[in-house]
C-alpha cells in the first residue's frame, strides 16, 4: 500500500507530530504508515484522510506487496 501522506502533509505545512495529534495516534505510527512499514486499520486510514479533507482512495493507493 502506497500513500500520499508525506506530500499532503507538506502541502498543508503539517508536521508528523501535528498529524499524530489530529488523528490521536503516536508520532511513531505516522512515521511507520508514511514510510509504508505499517498498513493502518480502516478506521485510522479514514481519520488520516479526513485530516487532509480527502477520501481514503486519494490518500492510500493499493499496491501489490503489502507491508515492508
Amino acid at each position: 500500500m502506497r500513500n500520499q501522506i508525506k506530500d499532503l502533509r507538506k502541502a498543508m505545512k503539517m508536521t508528523q507530530e501535528d498529524l499524530s495529534k489530529r488523528v490521536g495516534v503516536s508520532r511513531q505510527s505516522i512515521i511507520a504508515i508514511e514510510s509504508g512499514k505499517y498498513n493502518p486499520s480502516l478506521e485510522l486510514a479514514y481519520n488520516i484522510s479526513k485530516a487532509f479533507d480527502r477520501t481514503i482512495e486519494e490518500v492510500f493507493i493499493f499496491d501489490e506487496g503489502g507491508e515492508r
Binding site: 502506497r2 500513500n3 501522506i5 508525506k6 499524530s20 495529534k21 490521536g24 495516534v25 503516536s26 508520532r27 511513531q28 505510527s29 512515521i31 511507520a32 508514511e34 514510510s35 509504508g36 512499514k37 505499517y38 493502518p40 486499520s41 485510522l44 515492508r68
Partner: protein
C-alpha cells in the same frame, strides 16, 4: 522439599517489579498517545514470535531428557520463562525500533543478530545444565548483546519507498 524463601522472593518480587514497570511504561506511553493500534500490532506480533522461541526451548529441553540428562522442574520452568519473556521483550524492541526509523532495518542483519542471540543463549544454557555450573549463563550475555547490536545497527543509505 522445604520452603525456598529466596526462590519465592525472586518469583513474586520479579513479578511485582515486572508488573510495576509494565504499568509505568504504559502510563508514560499513554501521555504521548503511544497506546495506539501500532503498539498493539507490535506487541501482539512479538508475543506470537516469542512462542516459536519457547517451542524451540521445549524441544531442546525434551531432547536433553531423552539423552539422559536429569533436569529439575525449577530448571526447566526457569529456562522456559527466561526464553519466553526475553524473546518477547527483544522482539518487541526490535519491531518498535524498526517502525520508528525512516530507513528499515536490514532483514538479513536482524536474522543474523537474532540467530547469534538465540544460539548463544541455548548453547550456554545447555552447557550450564550439563556441567551443573550456572555461571556459564553469564558467559552467554556478551555474545547475546553483540547479536542485539548487530541486529539493530543501521545499514548504509536505503532509498525510501515514498
Amino acid at each position: 522439599m522445604g520452603l525456598q524463601i529466596g526462590g519465592l522472593i525472586g518469583l513474586y518480587g520479579g513479578a511485582t517489579f515486572g508488573i510495576l514497570g509494565w504499568w509505568l511504561g504504559r502510563r508514560m506511553a499513554k501521555k504521548n498517545r503511544g497506546l495506539d493500534e501500532l503498539h498493539d500490532h507490535i506487541w501482539q506480533k512479538a508475543r506470537s514470535i516469542s512462542w516459536y522461541f519457547t517451542l524451540a526451548a521445549i524441544y531442546i529441553l525434551f531432547s536433553l531428557v531423552a539423552f539422559g540428562i536429569e533436569l529439575s522442574v525449577a530448571m526447566v520452568l526457569g529456562i522456559m520463562l527466561l526464553v519466553h519473556m526475553s524473546s518477547w521483550g527483544i522482539t518487541g524492541m526490535i519491531l518498535s525500533i524498526n517502525m520508528n526509523r525512516t530507513e528499515p532495518l536490514k532483514p538479513s542483519k536482524v536474522k543474523f543478530g537474532v540467530a547469534v542471540m538465540v544460539l548463544s543463549l541455548i548453547f550456554f544454557a545447555v552447557l550450564s545444565i550439563v556441567t551443573g555450573n550456572w555461571w556459564f549463563l553469564l558467559v552467554g550475555i556478551p555474545p547475546s548483546v553483540l547479536g542485539l547490536i548487530s541486529a539493530l545497527s543501521p545499514e548504509g543509505t536505503v532509498e525510501g519507498k515514498v
